[in-house]
């Protein structure tokens, strides 16, 4: 299935019935792969039903591609079973680590972007793509602390990872905004530098200010609506690169389904505007 450049919504169990009943034109859903790694039961049955007329994207949060060890073989096998079952339009993971020496931490941890790290992560991305039998997209992380020892910028690192492995990029605009804020960088410069040809998907989500540090330290909570500066960055990105499948992510303080759909409709409107603008330029 060719990824359709429409807006989608992160699928939550409390919205299954509404997601199934929603009109299909363009709407798609993304799930965290780890939440469907079960032998059977209602979750899988709901996703079977929803996947019959809406595209599904499988988004991994725990493969730990940036660990100093290969991804867990059992996890890769479980991911392959989900890919075979749901035929997703997109499969993605993070540029981060979370599992090491048999212990998993439910977070996306940072690392120094060294040449050695690039080689190791490229091997792990290749293992993932071999296991699922297709291209995957790799997502830029939210960063919360200034690490020393980087040898490459993040965009340069991701572009080189894509060159070596053939993977694409999942550009999380909220993560760009949060990281730039926390580390004192320019979010606009990052958005302008992402190589258009590599971008296969875009994420939009909400963030919150740290309880102690305030807005000096923003946290990628996915527990709030998409913030206005993030919408502005998103517009800037798609005006340059053109429309891409765009997801509204929400994992905390989950609102009623229509509220998420309203955010998806706003993204959809911006995608169509970006498309019209590009067509007009090409016709001129």
């Amino acid at each position: 299935m060719t990824p359709s450049p429409h807006a989608g919504v992160g699928l939550k169990p409390q919205h299954y019935a509404e997601a199934l009943a929603a009109p299909a034109h363009g709407l798609w859903f993304e799930v965290h792969a780890e939440n469907y790694m079960a032998a059977g039961g209602p979750r899988l049955a709901w996703l079977d039903a929803i996947a019959r007329d809406k595209p599904i994207s499988l988004h991994g949060v725990g493969l730990s591609l940036a660990a100093d060890e290969p991804p867990d073989a059992g996890h890769l096998a479980a991911l392959r079973r989900l890919v075979d079952r749901y035929r997703p339009m997109l499969v993605s993971e993070h540029l981060a680590w979370s599992m090491r020496q048999g212990v998993y931490v439910p977070d996306l941890l940072p690392f120094p972007r060294t040449r050695a790290a690039l080689s190791r992560i490229a091997d792990n991305v290749a293992r993932m793509q071999d296991a699922v039998g297709r291209q995957v997209l790799i997502e830029n992380p939210s960063l919360y602390l200034p690490l020393d020892g980087h040898e490459m910028g993040e965009v340069e690192f991701l572009a080189e990872l894509a060159r070596r492995t053939g993977c694409g990029l999942l550009v999380d605009v909220n993560n760009i905004f949060v990281s730039a804020n926390n580390l004192g960088r320019s979010a606009e410069a990052y958005v302008d530098a992402v190589p258009a040809a590599l971008v296969g998907e875009i994420h939009l989500a909400g963030h919150d200010a740290d309880e102690r540090m305030g807005r000096a330290l923003l946290i990628d909570t996915h527990a709030a609506p998409v913030a206005e500066p993030v919408w502005a960055l998103y517009g800037r990105l798609i005006r340059r690169i053109g429309p891409r499948p765009t997801l509204i992510e929400r994992d905390g303080e989950i609102p009623a389904f229509p509220e998420l759909l309203a955010e998806a409709e706003r993204a959809e409107g911006m995608l169509r505007a970006a498309e019209r603008a590009r067509e007009a330029l090409l016709d001129a």
Partner: protein, 262 residues
Amino acid sequence: MPEAAPAFHDAFAAALAGDASALAAGWGSGADLDAGLTVYRNTIAKGCADALTAQFPTVEKLVGEAWLAAAAIAFAKDHPPRQASLLTYGQEFPDWLAAFPPAADLPHLPAIARLDLMWTDAHLAADAEPLPAGAFAALGPDDLGRLTAELHPATRFARFDLTLPALWRALQAEAAPEAFELDETPQGLLMTRPRLDIEHRVIGPGACAFLAALTDRRALADAAGLALAAEPDLALDTAFAELIALGAFGRLIPAAPNRDQP
């Protein structure tokens, strides 16, 4: 420096565990680092606690949200997740609770936690068609000594010396009971999921013995004999019909060879 990367992961793990100076050997230091580490620590603690509390809704009804959240954070320190899918996180929680000092005056909490885990286990089990009604009645006398019934992949049961199964079931209601007297009457709890919804029933010692015999692939006739031995006045036909109607069984298959005879 190709060997630096593995060392970084060790240092970061140590920093997360509380030793921020572990990152000073080339990866950073200072107040911004500490504030950032706190964000990671909080996210990890919350992620573990949320995953655990989601597994134990009946325990939460007994002890409240704040008590369980505090217990979950303490549990996660002793038993961090071992895999990225947290759907089955907390298998050690019932045993851990039994040794958790604040739970010392709640002696039945581990059993209630065990029944919550049984629910998740049935919820995530493989799907299969349940054995249809009347399947036992259609069998000939020879079949009863030759065949057994597989338990449905989602069937789980446990036996207790107290009426804990009735308590667990009462707590599933929207309005949980204010007070509940436990009797010293042996009781079992059977859960299964013939299709999408979990069914659960209190069962007697006879039904428990029958299900245990089928778990060992004993022939239906042997299993029935063991059920009657455990509960002499059990109405076998009614008990079997109820178990079939509930969807407790899968296919009929050959019994394991009888180990009592040469």
